[in-house]
């Protein structure tokens, strides 16, 4: 609609004002303004226990640039984005293919429901569950491997070398169920007529999926990439409690993303670091990187959106 037209001005101006102004102001007061406050804190040396703050300019950012533990968590965040998007979106696409070919509506719904269910469970419970699955000695995975005569594949999954993969596998289990719902919804939108000529040509279901379905859900693939990027940087609960043993431990550095690191730095858990201002600087870095990544993803996809 043309927003310069008279009709538009007459009819919609008040609606726009009424709907946007109050919500935007709530949103800015309670979410954007606190971020600016964090930006302000990040210029100080501050524990967050008392009002006592010491100005240090960009000192925190300088320290971040040579803080190896922080840089490791940045790298981890990117690994979650990269590996996670390949594995999660890959599996989701394969499952989309399988499920769209189901004839029975009930079966479709049932499978989707089971896949989604891990999303409804609290992180504390899931993290505990996973440590039982991946235990070296009597864990489910190693037991199955041994049972199948594949004992040589058994590993210490929660050890330094594999724990990142272990944490990622939990995230995969959860998020495939999340994205599959969206993908299936998108696939269902595609009109049947588009498949008909392919069927007449005798194309296999797999070919149809690659040639027709995937190109037509690129917008969803983009959306899910953006969402997963955001999740990777932001995921907290699952990683915070992963392998930590009740209160006995902080999450191992190998699996921390920036979000976990900034919490541990700002508030401490067992290890009372309590550098709230330094943690705020991490938050600002996180947001800037996230904004850049999202921008890049959107740019990459811009050329490829297909209308139908």
């Amino acid at each position: 609609m043309d927003y310069n037209s008279q009709i538009f001005k007459r009819r919609y101006k008040s609606l726009i004002l009424i709907t946007t102004i109050p919500i935007l102001s709530f949103y800015f007061i309670f979410m954007i303004f606190p971020i600016l406050e964090s930006l302000y804190y990040s210029l100080f040396d501050w524990s967050g226990f008392t009002a006592e703050m010491e100005f240090k300019g960009l000192g925190n950012y300088l320290e971040l640039s040579s803080d190896n533990l922080f840089l490791q968590t940045v790298w981890n965040s990117f690994k979650y984005v990269g590996l996670g998007s390949v594995v999660i979106l890959g599996i989701t696409l394969l499952f989309t293919y399988a499920i769209t070919n189901y004839k029975s509506r009930k079966l479709k719904d049932f499978v989707q429901m089971i896949l989604f269910v891990p999303n409804t469970i609290s992180p504390v419970a899931l993290a505990l569950l996973w440590s039982f699955v991946l235990n070296t000695r009597w864990g489910l995975l190693n037991s199955i491997l041994k049972g199948l005569g594949l004992g040589f594949l058994a590993r210490g999954w929660m050890g330094e070398d594999y724990i990142f993969g272990a944490a990622l596998s939990l995230l995969v289990w959860i998020h495939v169920g999340f994205f599959i719902v969206i993908y299936l919804a998108a696939a269902a939108r595609i009109p049947d007529s588009l498949y008909e000529s392919a069927k007449i040509d005798g194309a296999t279901s797999w070919k149809q999926f690659v040639k027709i379905t995937i190109p037509l859900i690129t917008d969803i693939i983009e959306t899910s990439l953006v969402l997963w990027t955001i999740f990777s940087f932001k995921i907290f609960g699952y990683l915070y409690v992963f392998s930590t043993g009740g209160a006995g431990s902080d999450a191992p550095p190998a699996i921390r993303n920036i979000s976990v690191q900034l919490f541990l730095t700002s508030f401490g858990k067992r290890t009372p670091i309590n550098r709230l201002a330094y943690g705020s600087a991490m938050a600002i870095v996180l947001l800037i990187m996230l904004a850049l990544l999202v921008y890049i993803i959107r740019k990459l996809f811009k050329a490829e959106v297909i209308e139908y």
């Binding site: 008392t50 533990l69 440590s131 594999y162 724990i163 930590t244 508030f267 009372p272 309590n274 709230l276």
Partner: protein, 433 residues
């Protein structure tokens, strides 16, 4: 007639409510934020004491059962200017958060206070070792403990008897014990490196035996890294290497990837001979222990030329801290003293199966050995020699990763000492201090 009676009743009720509210308004009170959760035995003992305290002195205790994350929950509230008088947690957490940020109040005067109803001063009632490691250089004390925890190697007495093993006191005996356990198909030490509290134990204890308590703490804050150049740190490293799978392989199978609760499960089910852990472990494993399981404990072994006190044990008290800006610190202190009464100390032992720092009260049966070690100790040290609370970032960035490397046998004892020194210098440089 009837309506006047009703009016009278209403009048009396209003009067009662009115008087009652005056009474409440006039009551003195203090606010206590607790690390315990509603329903825990510890919480129940404390709740009973609070009820008695309120009745006896006509005051009100505003208590909040927050749980273990109490310090995190405290932070925004203190910033917002809310008044909280009393907090409890482990000494390490209280010192790392409240004392380090100068918001804890001194509690030295409490030592001179009498426990209400008992004409004895607190300092005469408490085992000195339960708090002495927490007295600062300037003499200030910021915690009064009510729960005493230590750590030790835990084992099954019946199993050891069966195998004919005597609890070791020296490193040589310890190695012999390990050999005997291995011969009998048991892993010597249950251990999981991914749980930080487990990972820190053996390195800091070895250092405390070889160099003495406080050596690790002093070396951590030495910006020049010179203290870690002391050749005895190589010896510490060598001992740790001996534990690793590249050395004598003393830990349980798969320790590099074992996470809580696997080590304690494997130990209690008889897959490993001993487990180094805090004195909370009998409570945590009691339900899973077999009927023949009898808890025993021995302290970390001594080294031949070690300069640390071979009898020294860890002290990991849980206790009260008063906030510096507390509005009602006098009343809060009175409660701290009140809770050290014999009846609550006894209830603490009986109901929570923990030890009390109060003199003259026997430990729960499962903790007898730990208590004996404590009574026998000539000195004490803090968990991780205090580095976790005093230099938390150094602990997280330098100490823990290097402990991991040496305990996995990825570096040698020499490299361990060398890297400690180098990385400590580097750490303080980056902090700009």
């Amino acid at each position: 007639m009837k309506s006047s009676k009703i009016l009278l009743v209403i009048g009396i009720m209003i009067g009662i409510v009115f008087l009652g509210s005056i009474n409440i308004l006039a009551k003195e009170s203090f606010t206590y934020w607790s690390m315990w959760e509603k329903g825990e035995p510890q919480q129940q003992v404390l709740e009973q004491a609070i009820k008695d305290f309120e009745e006896e002195f006509g005051v009100e205790v505003k208590v909040n059962w927050v749980g273990r994350a109490v310090v995190t929950a405290l932070k925004p509230r203190l910033l917002a200017g809310e008044n909280i008088d009393l907090v409890d947690q482990s000494g390490e957490e209280l010192y790392g958060a409240l004392v380090a940020n100068k918001i804890a109040g001194k509690m030295n005067d409490l030592l001179e206070m009498e426990v209400p109803g008992e004409s004895k001063q607190i300092k005469d009632l408490l085992i000195e070792e339960s708090y002495s490691a927490y007295v600062r250089d300037d003499g200030a004390l910021y915690i009064i403990p009510y729960n005493f925890i230590t750590s030790a190697f835990w084992y099954d007495k019946n199993l050891y008897q069966e195998l004919g093993i005597e609890p070791p006191t020296t490193w040589q005996e310890f190695l012999q014990m390990a050999a005997t356990l291995k011969e009998n198909g048991l892993d010597p030490v249950a251990f999981g490196i991914q749980t930080e509290v487990y990972r820190g134990y053996i390195p800091y204890l070895t250092a405390a035996r070889i160099l003495g308590a406080g050596a690790l703490n002093a070396a951590a804050r030495d910006h020049t890294g010179q203290l870690f150049r002391d050749p005895r740190w190589i010896e510490v490293g060598n001992v740790l290497y001996t534990f690793s799978k590249e050395g004598n392989n003393l830990f349980m199978e798969g320790y590099g990837s074992s996470v809580w609760p696997a080590p304690q499960m494997d130990w209690i089910m008889g897959l490993a001979g001993t487990f180094y852990c805090g004195s909370w472990i009998p409570v945590e494993t009691k339900q899973a222990a077999g009927p023949d399981f009898e808890y025993g404990a021995f302290i970390f072994p001594a080294f031949e030329d070690g300069e640390g006190d071979p009898t020294a044990v860890e002290t990991y008290p849980i206790g009260f801290s008063i906030l510096k800006d507390s509005d009602n610190s006098d009343l809060a202190k009175k409660f701290v003293a009140f809770f050290l009464r014999e009846e609550y100390a006894q209830a603490w032992v009986d109901d929570t199966m923990n030890m009390t720092p109060r003199i003259g009260i026997a430990a729960p049966a499962d903790l007898k050995d730990a208590k004996a070690a404590l009574d026998n100790a000539n000195s004490t040290f803090r968990l991780n020699d205090g580095v976790q609370a005093d230099y938390p970032e150094w602990y997280a960035k330098v100490y823990l990763p290097l402990c991991s490397k040496i305990l996995l046998g990825k570096i040698t004892g020499e490299q361990f000492a060398e890297m400690l020194s180098e990385q400590t210098v580097d750490y303080w440089e980056k902090r700009g201090e």
